[in-house]
């Protein structure tokens, strides 16, 4: 607050599409935005979506044009809904792989791949693992060119538990965390 009383205006952002509520109609997720706004900020909702407000907004346009705009917006919304569904499917069908790789006879490293699909930053997760297990953990590109977290030490069980907890927190219960083991090829005996 400054002396003359000027200060930052309070501003609401939509929890669904992140836009100011006025622009939700252009975001493609109007239905969801409306429900959200009605619950969180009923006063704003009334202002934006009551009958007179709607009438006022479309006042300047001819009927024909109005229909066209509406159709387009609907199309956009359908598209957006489709996209969201696809993304969810992709998320559900992919999995996190926790791989145990043998380095020497008694020592192993754990490689975790596939976390970035679920919106987890591999770099940050690596850092958490490093401090959690007090070992080295780094992000490298694996053979397929995807990011992979390599953790030194045989901590597969803990990693699996931690990752599945993390996924559960994000509301992705159905995601599988797969354990595999990778032994290096034996050196040709000669």
């Amino acid at each position: 607050m400054t002396e003359d009383g000027r200060s930052a205006l309070p501003i609401i952002y939509c929890g669904v599409c992140t836009f100011p509520p006025e622009y939700c109609e252009f975001g493609g997720t109007l239905q969801k935005c409306k429900t959200w706004l009605n619950v969180e900020h009923p006063d704003v909702y009334d202002k934006l979506y009551s009958e007179d407000a709607l009438a006022k907004a479309t006042e300047g346009l001819s009927l024909e044009k109005q229909e066209k705009v509406e159709r387009e917006i609907q199309k956009l919304q359908a598209k957006e809904a489709n996209r969201a569904e696809k993304e969810l499917k992709k998320k559900l069908s992919s999995k996190v792989v926790v791989k145990r790789v043998e380095r020497s006879k008694r020592k192993h490293v754990i490689a975790v791949s596939g976390v970035e699909v679920f919106g987890i930053d591999p770099k940050k997760l690596a850092k958490t693992f490093a401090s959690k297990f007090a070992t080295g953990a780094s992000v490298t590109k694996n053979l397929e060119g995807k990011d992979e977290i390599v953790i030194q030490g045989d901590v597969g069980d803990e990693v699996e538990e931690y990752v599945s907890d993390l996924l559960e927190e994000k509301g992705l219960d159905g995601v599988k965390v797969e354990r595999t083991e990778d032994k290096p090829k034996k050196k040709s005996q000669g």
């Binding site: 607050m1 400054t2 002396e3 003359d4 000027r6 200060s7 930052a8 205006l9 501003i11 599409c17 992140t18 836009f19 100011p20 006025e22 622009y23 252009f26 975001g27 006022k56 907004a57 300047g60 346009l61 387009e72």
Partner: protein, 182 residues
Amino acid sequence: MFKKFSAKEDIHSRTNVKSSVQRGLKLKLIEQFPKLENVIDEIIPKKGQLVVIKCTDKLSLYAMDNEVLFYQHFDDPFVPSLKLIHKFADCFPSVTVDRGAIKFILSGANIMCPGLTSKGAALPDENLPAGTVVAILAEGKETALAVGKLIMDTDEIKKVNKGIGIEVGTHLGDGLWSLEVE
């Protein structure tokens, strides 16, 4: 400008701004937006730590408390971020576009003159020279949906009424809007 912007690929470095440089920046900002003078200490408190984030193509973002306040391309004028404009709406010069233009702006188009001169749109009465950074509002809305730089004087826009009038820098839903600075 931020159509394809991802935090992972386009951010090169982030460094804290020296307090002396920070003071200079504040002066420059006031020079560019005189109306900011009263609130500049609220936007950038004296004790606050400003962070400069350097990105590809000579682009620097100035952020404080995990929120981008301004960006600057090379030595061009500063451009305030939308979140800042929403908070201090009356401190920046603004223009209004008609309803039909919203859709295009939100998908990243520059603003054509007719969108600024038609019924429903509004330009300020006094002339704004080309190169001024303006907030872009829309017909019937209270909040800004984009920020841009005038390519022509506003008088010229009224006269010519053709072609690109404002080059849009950042708009709702683009890479800068959804950027999360940590």
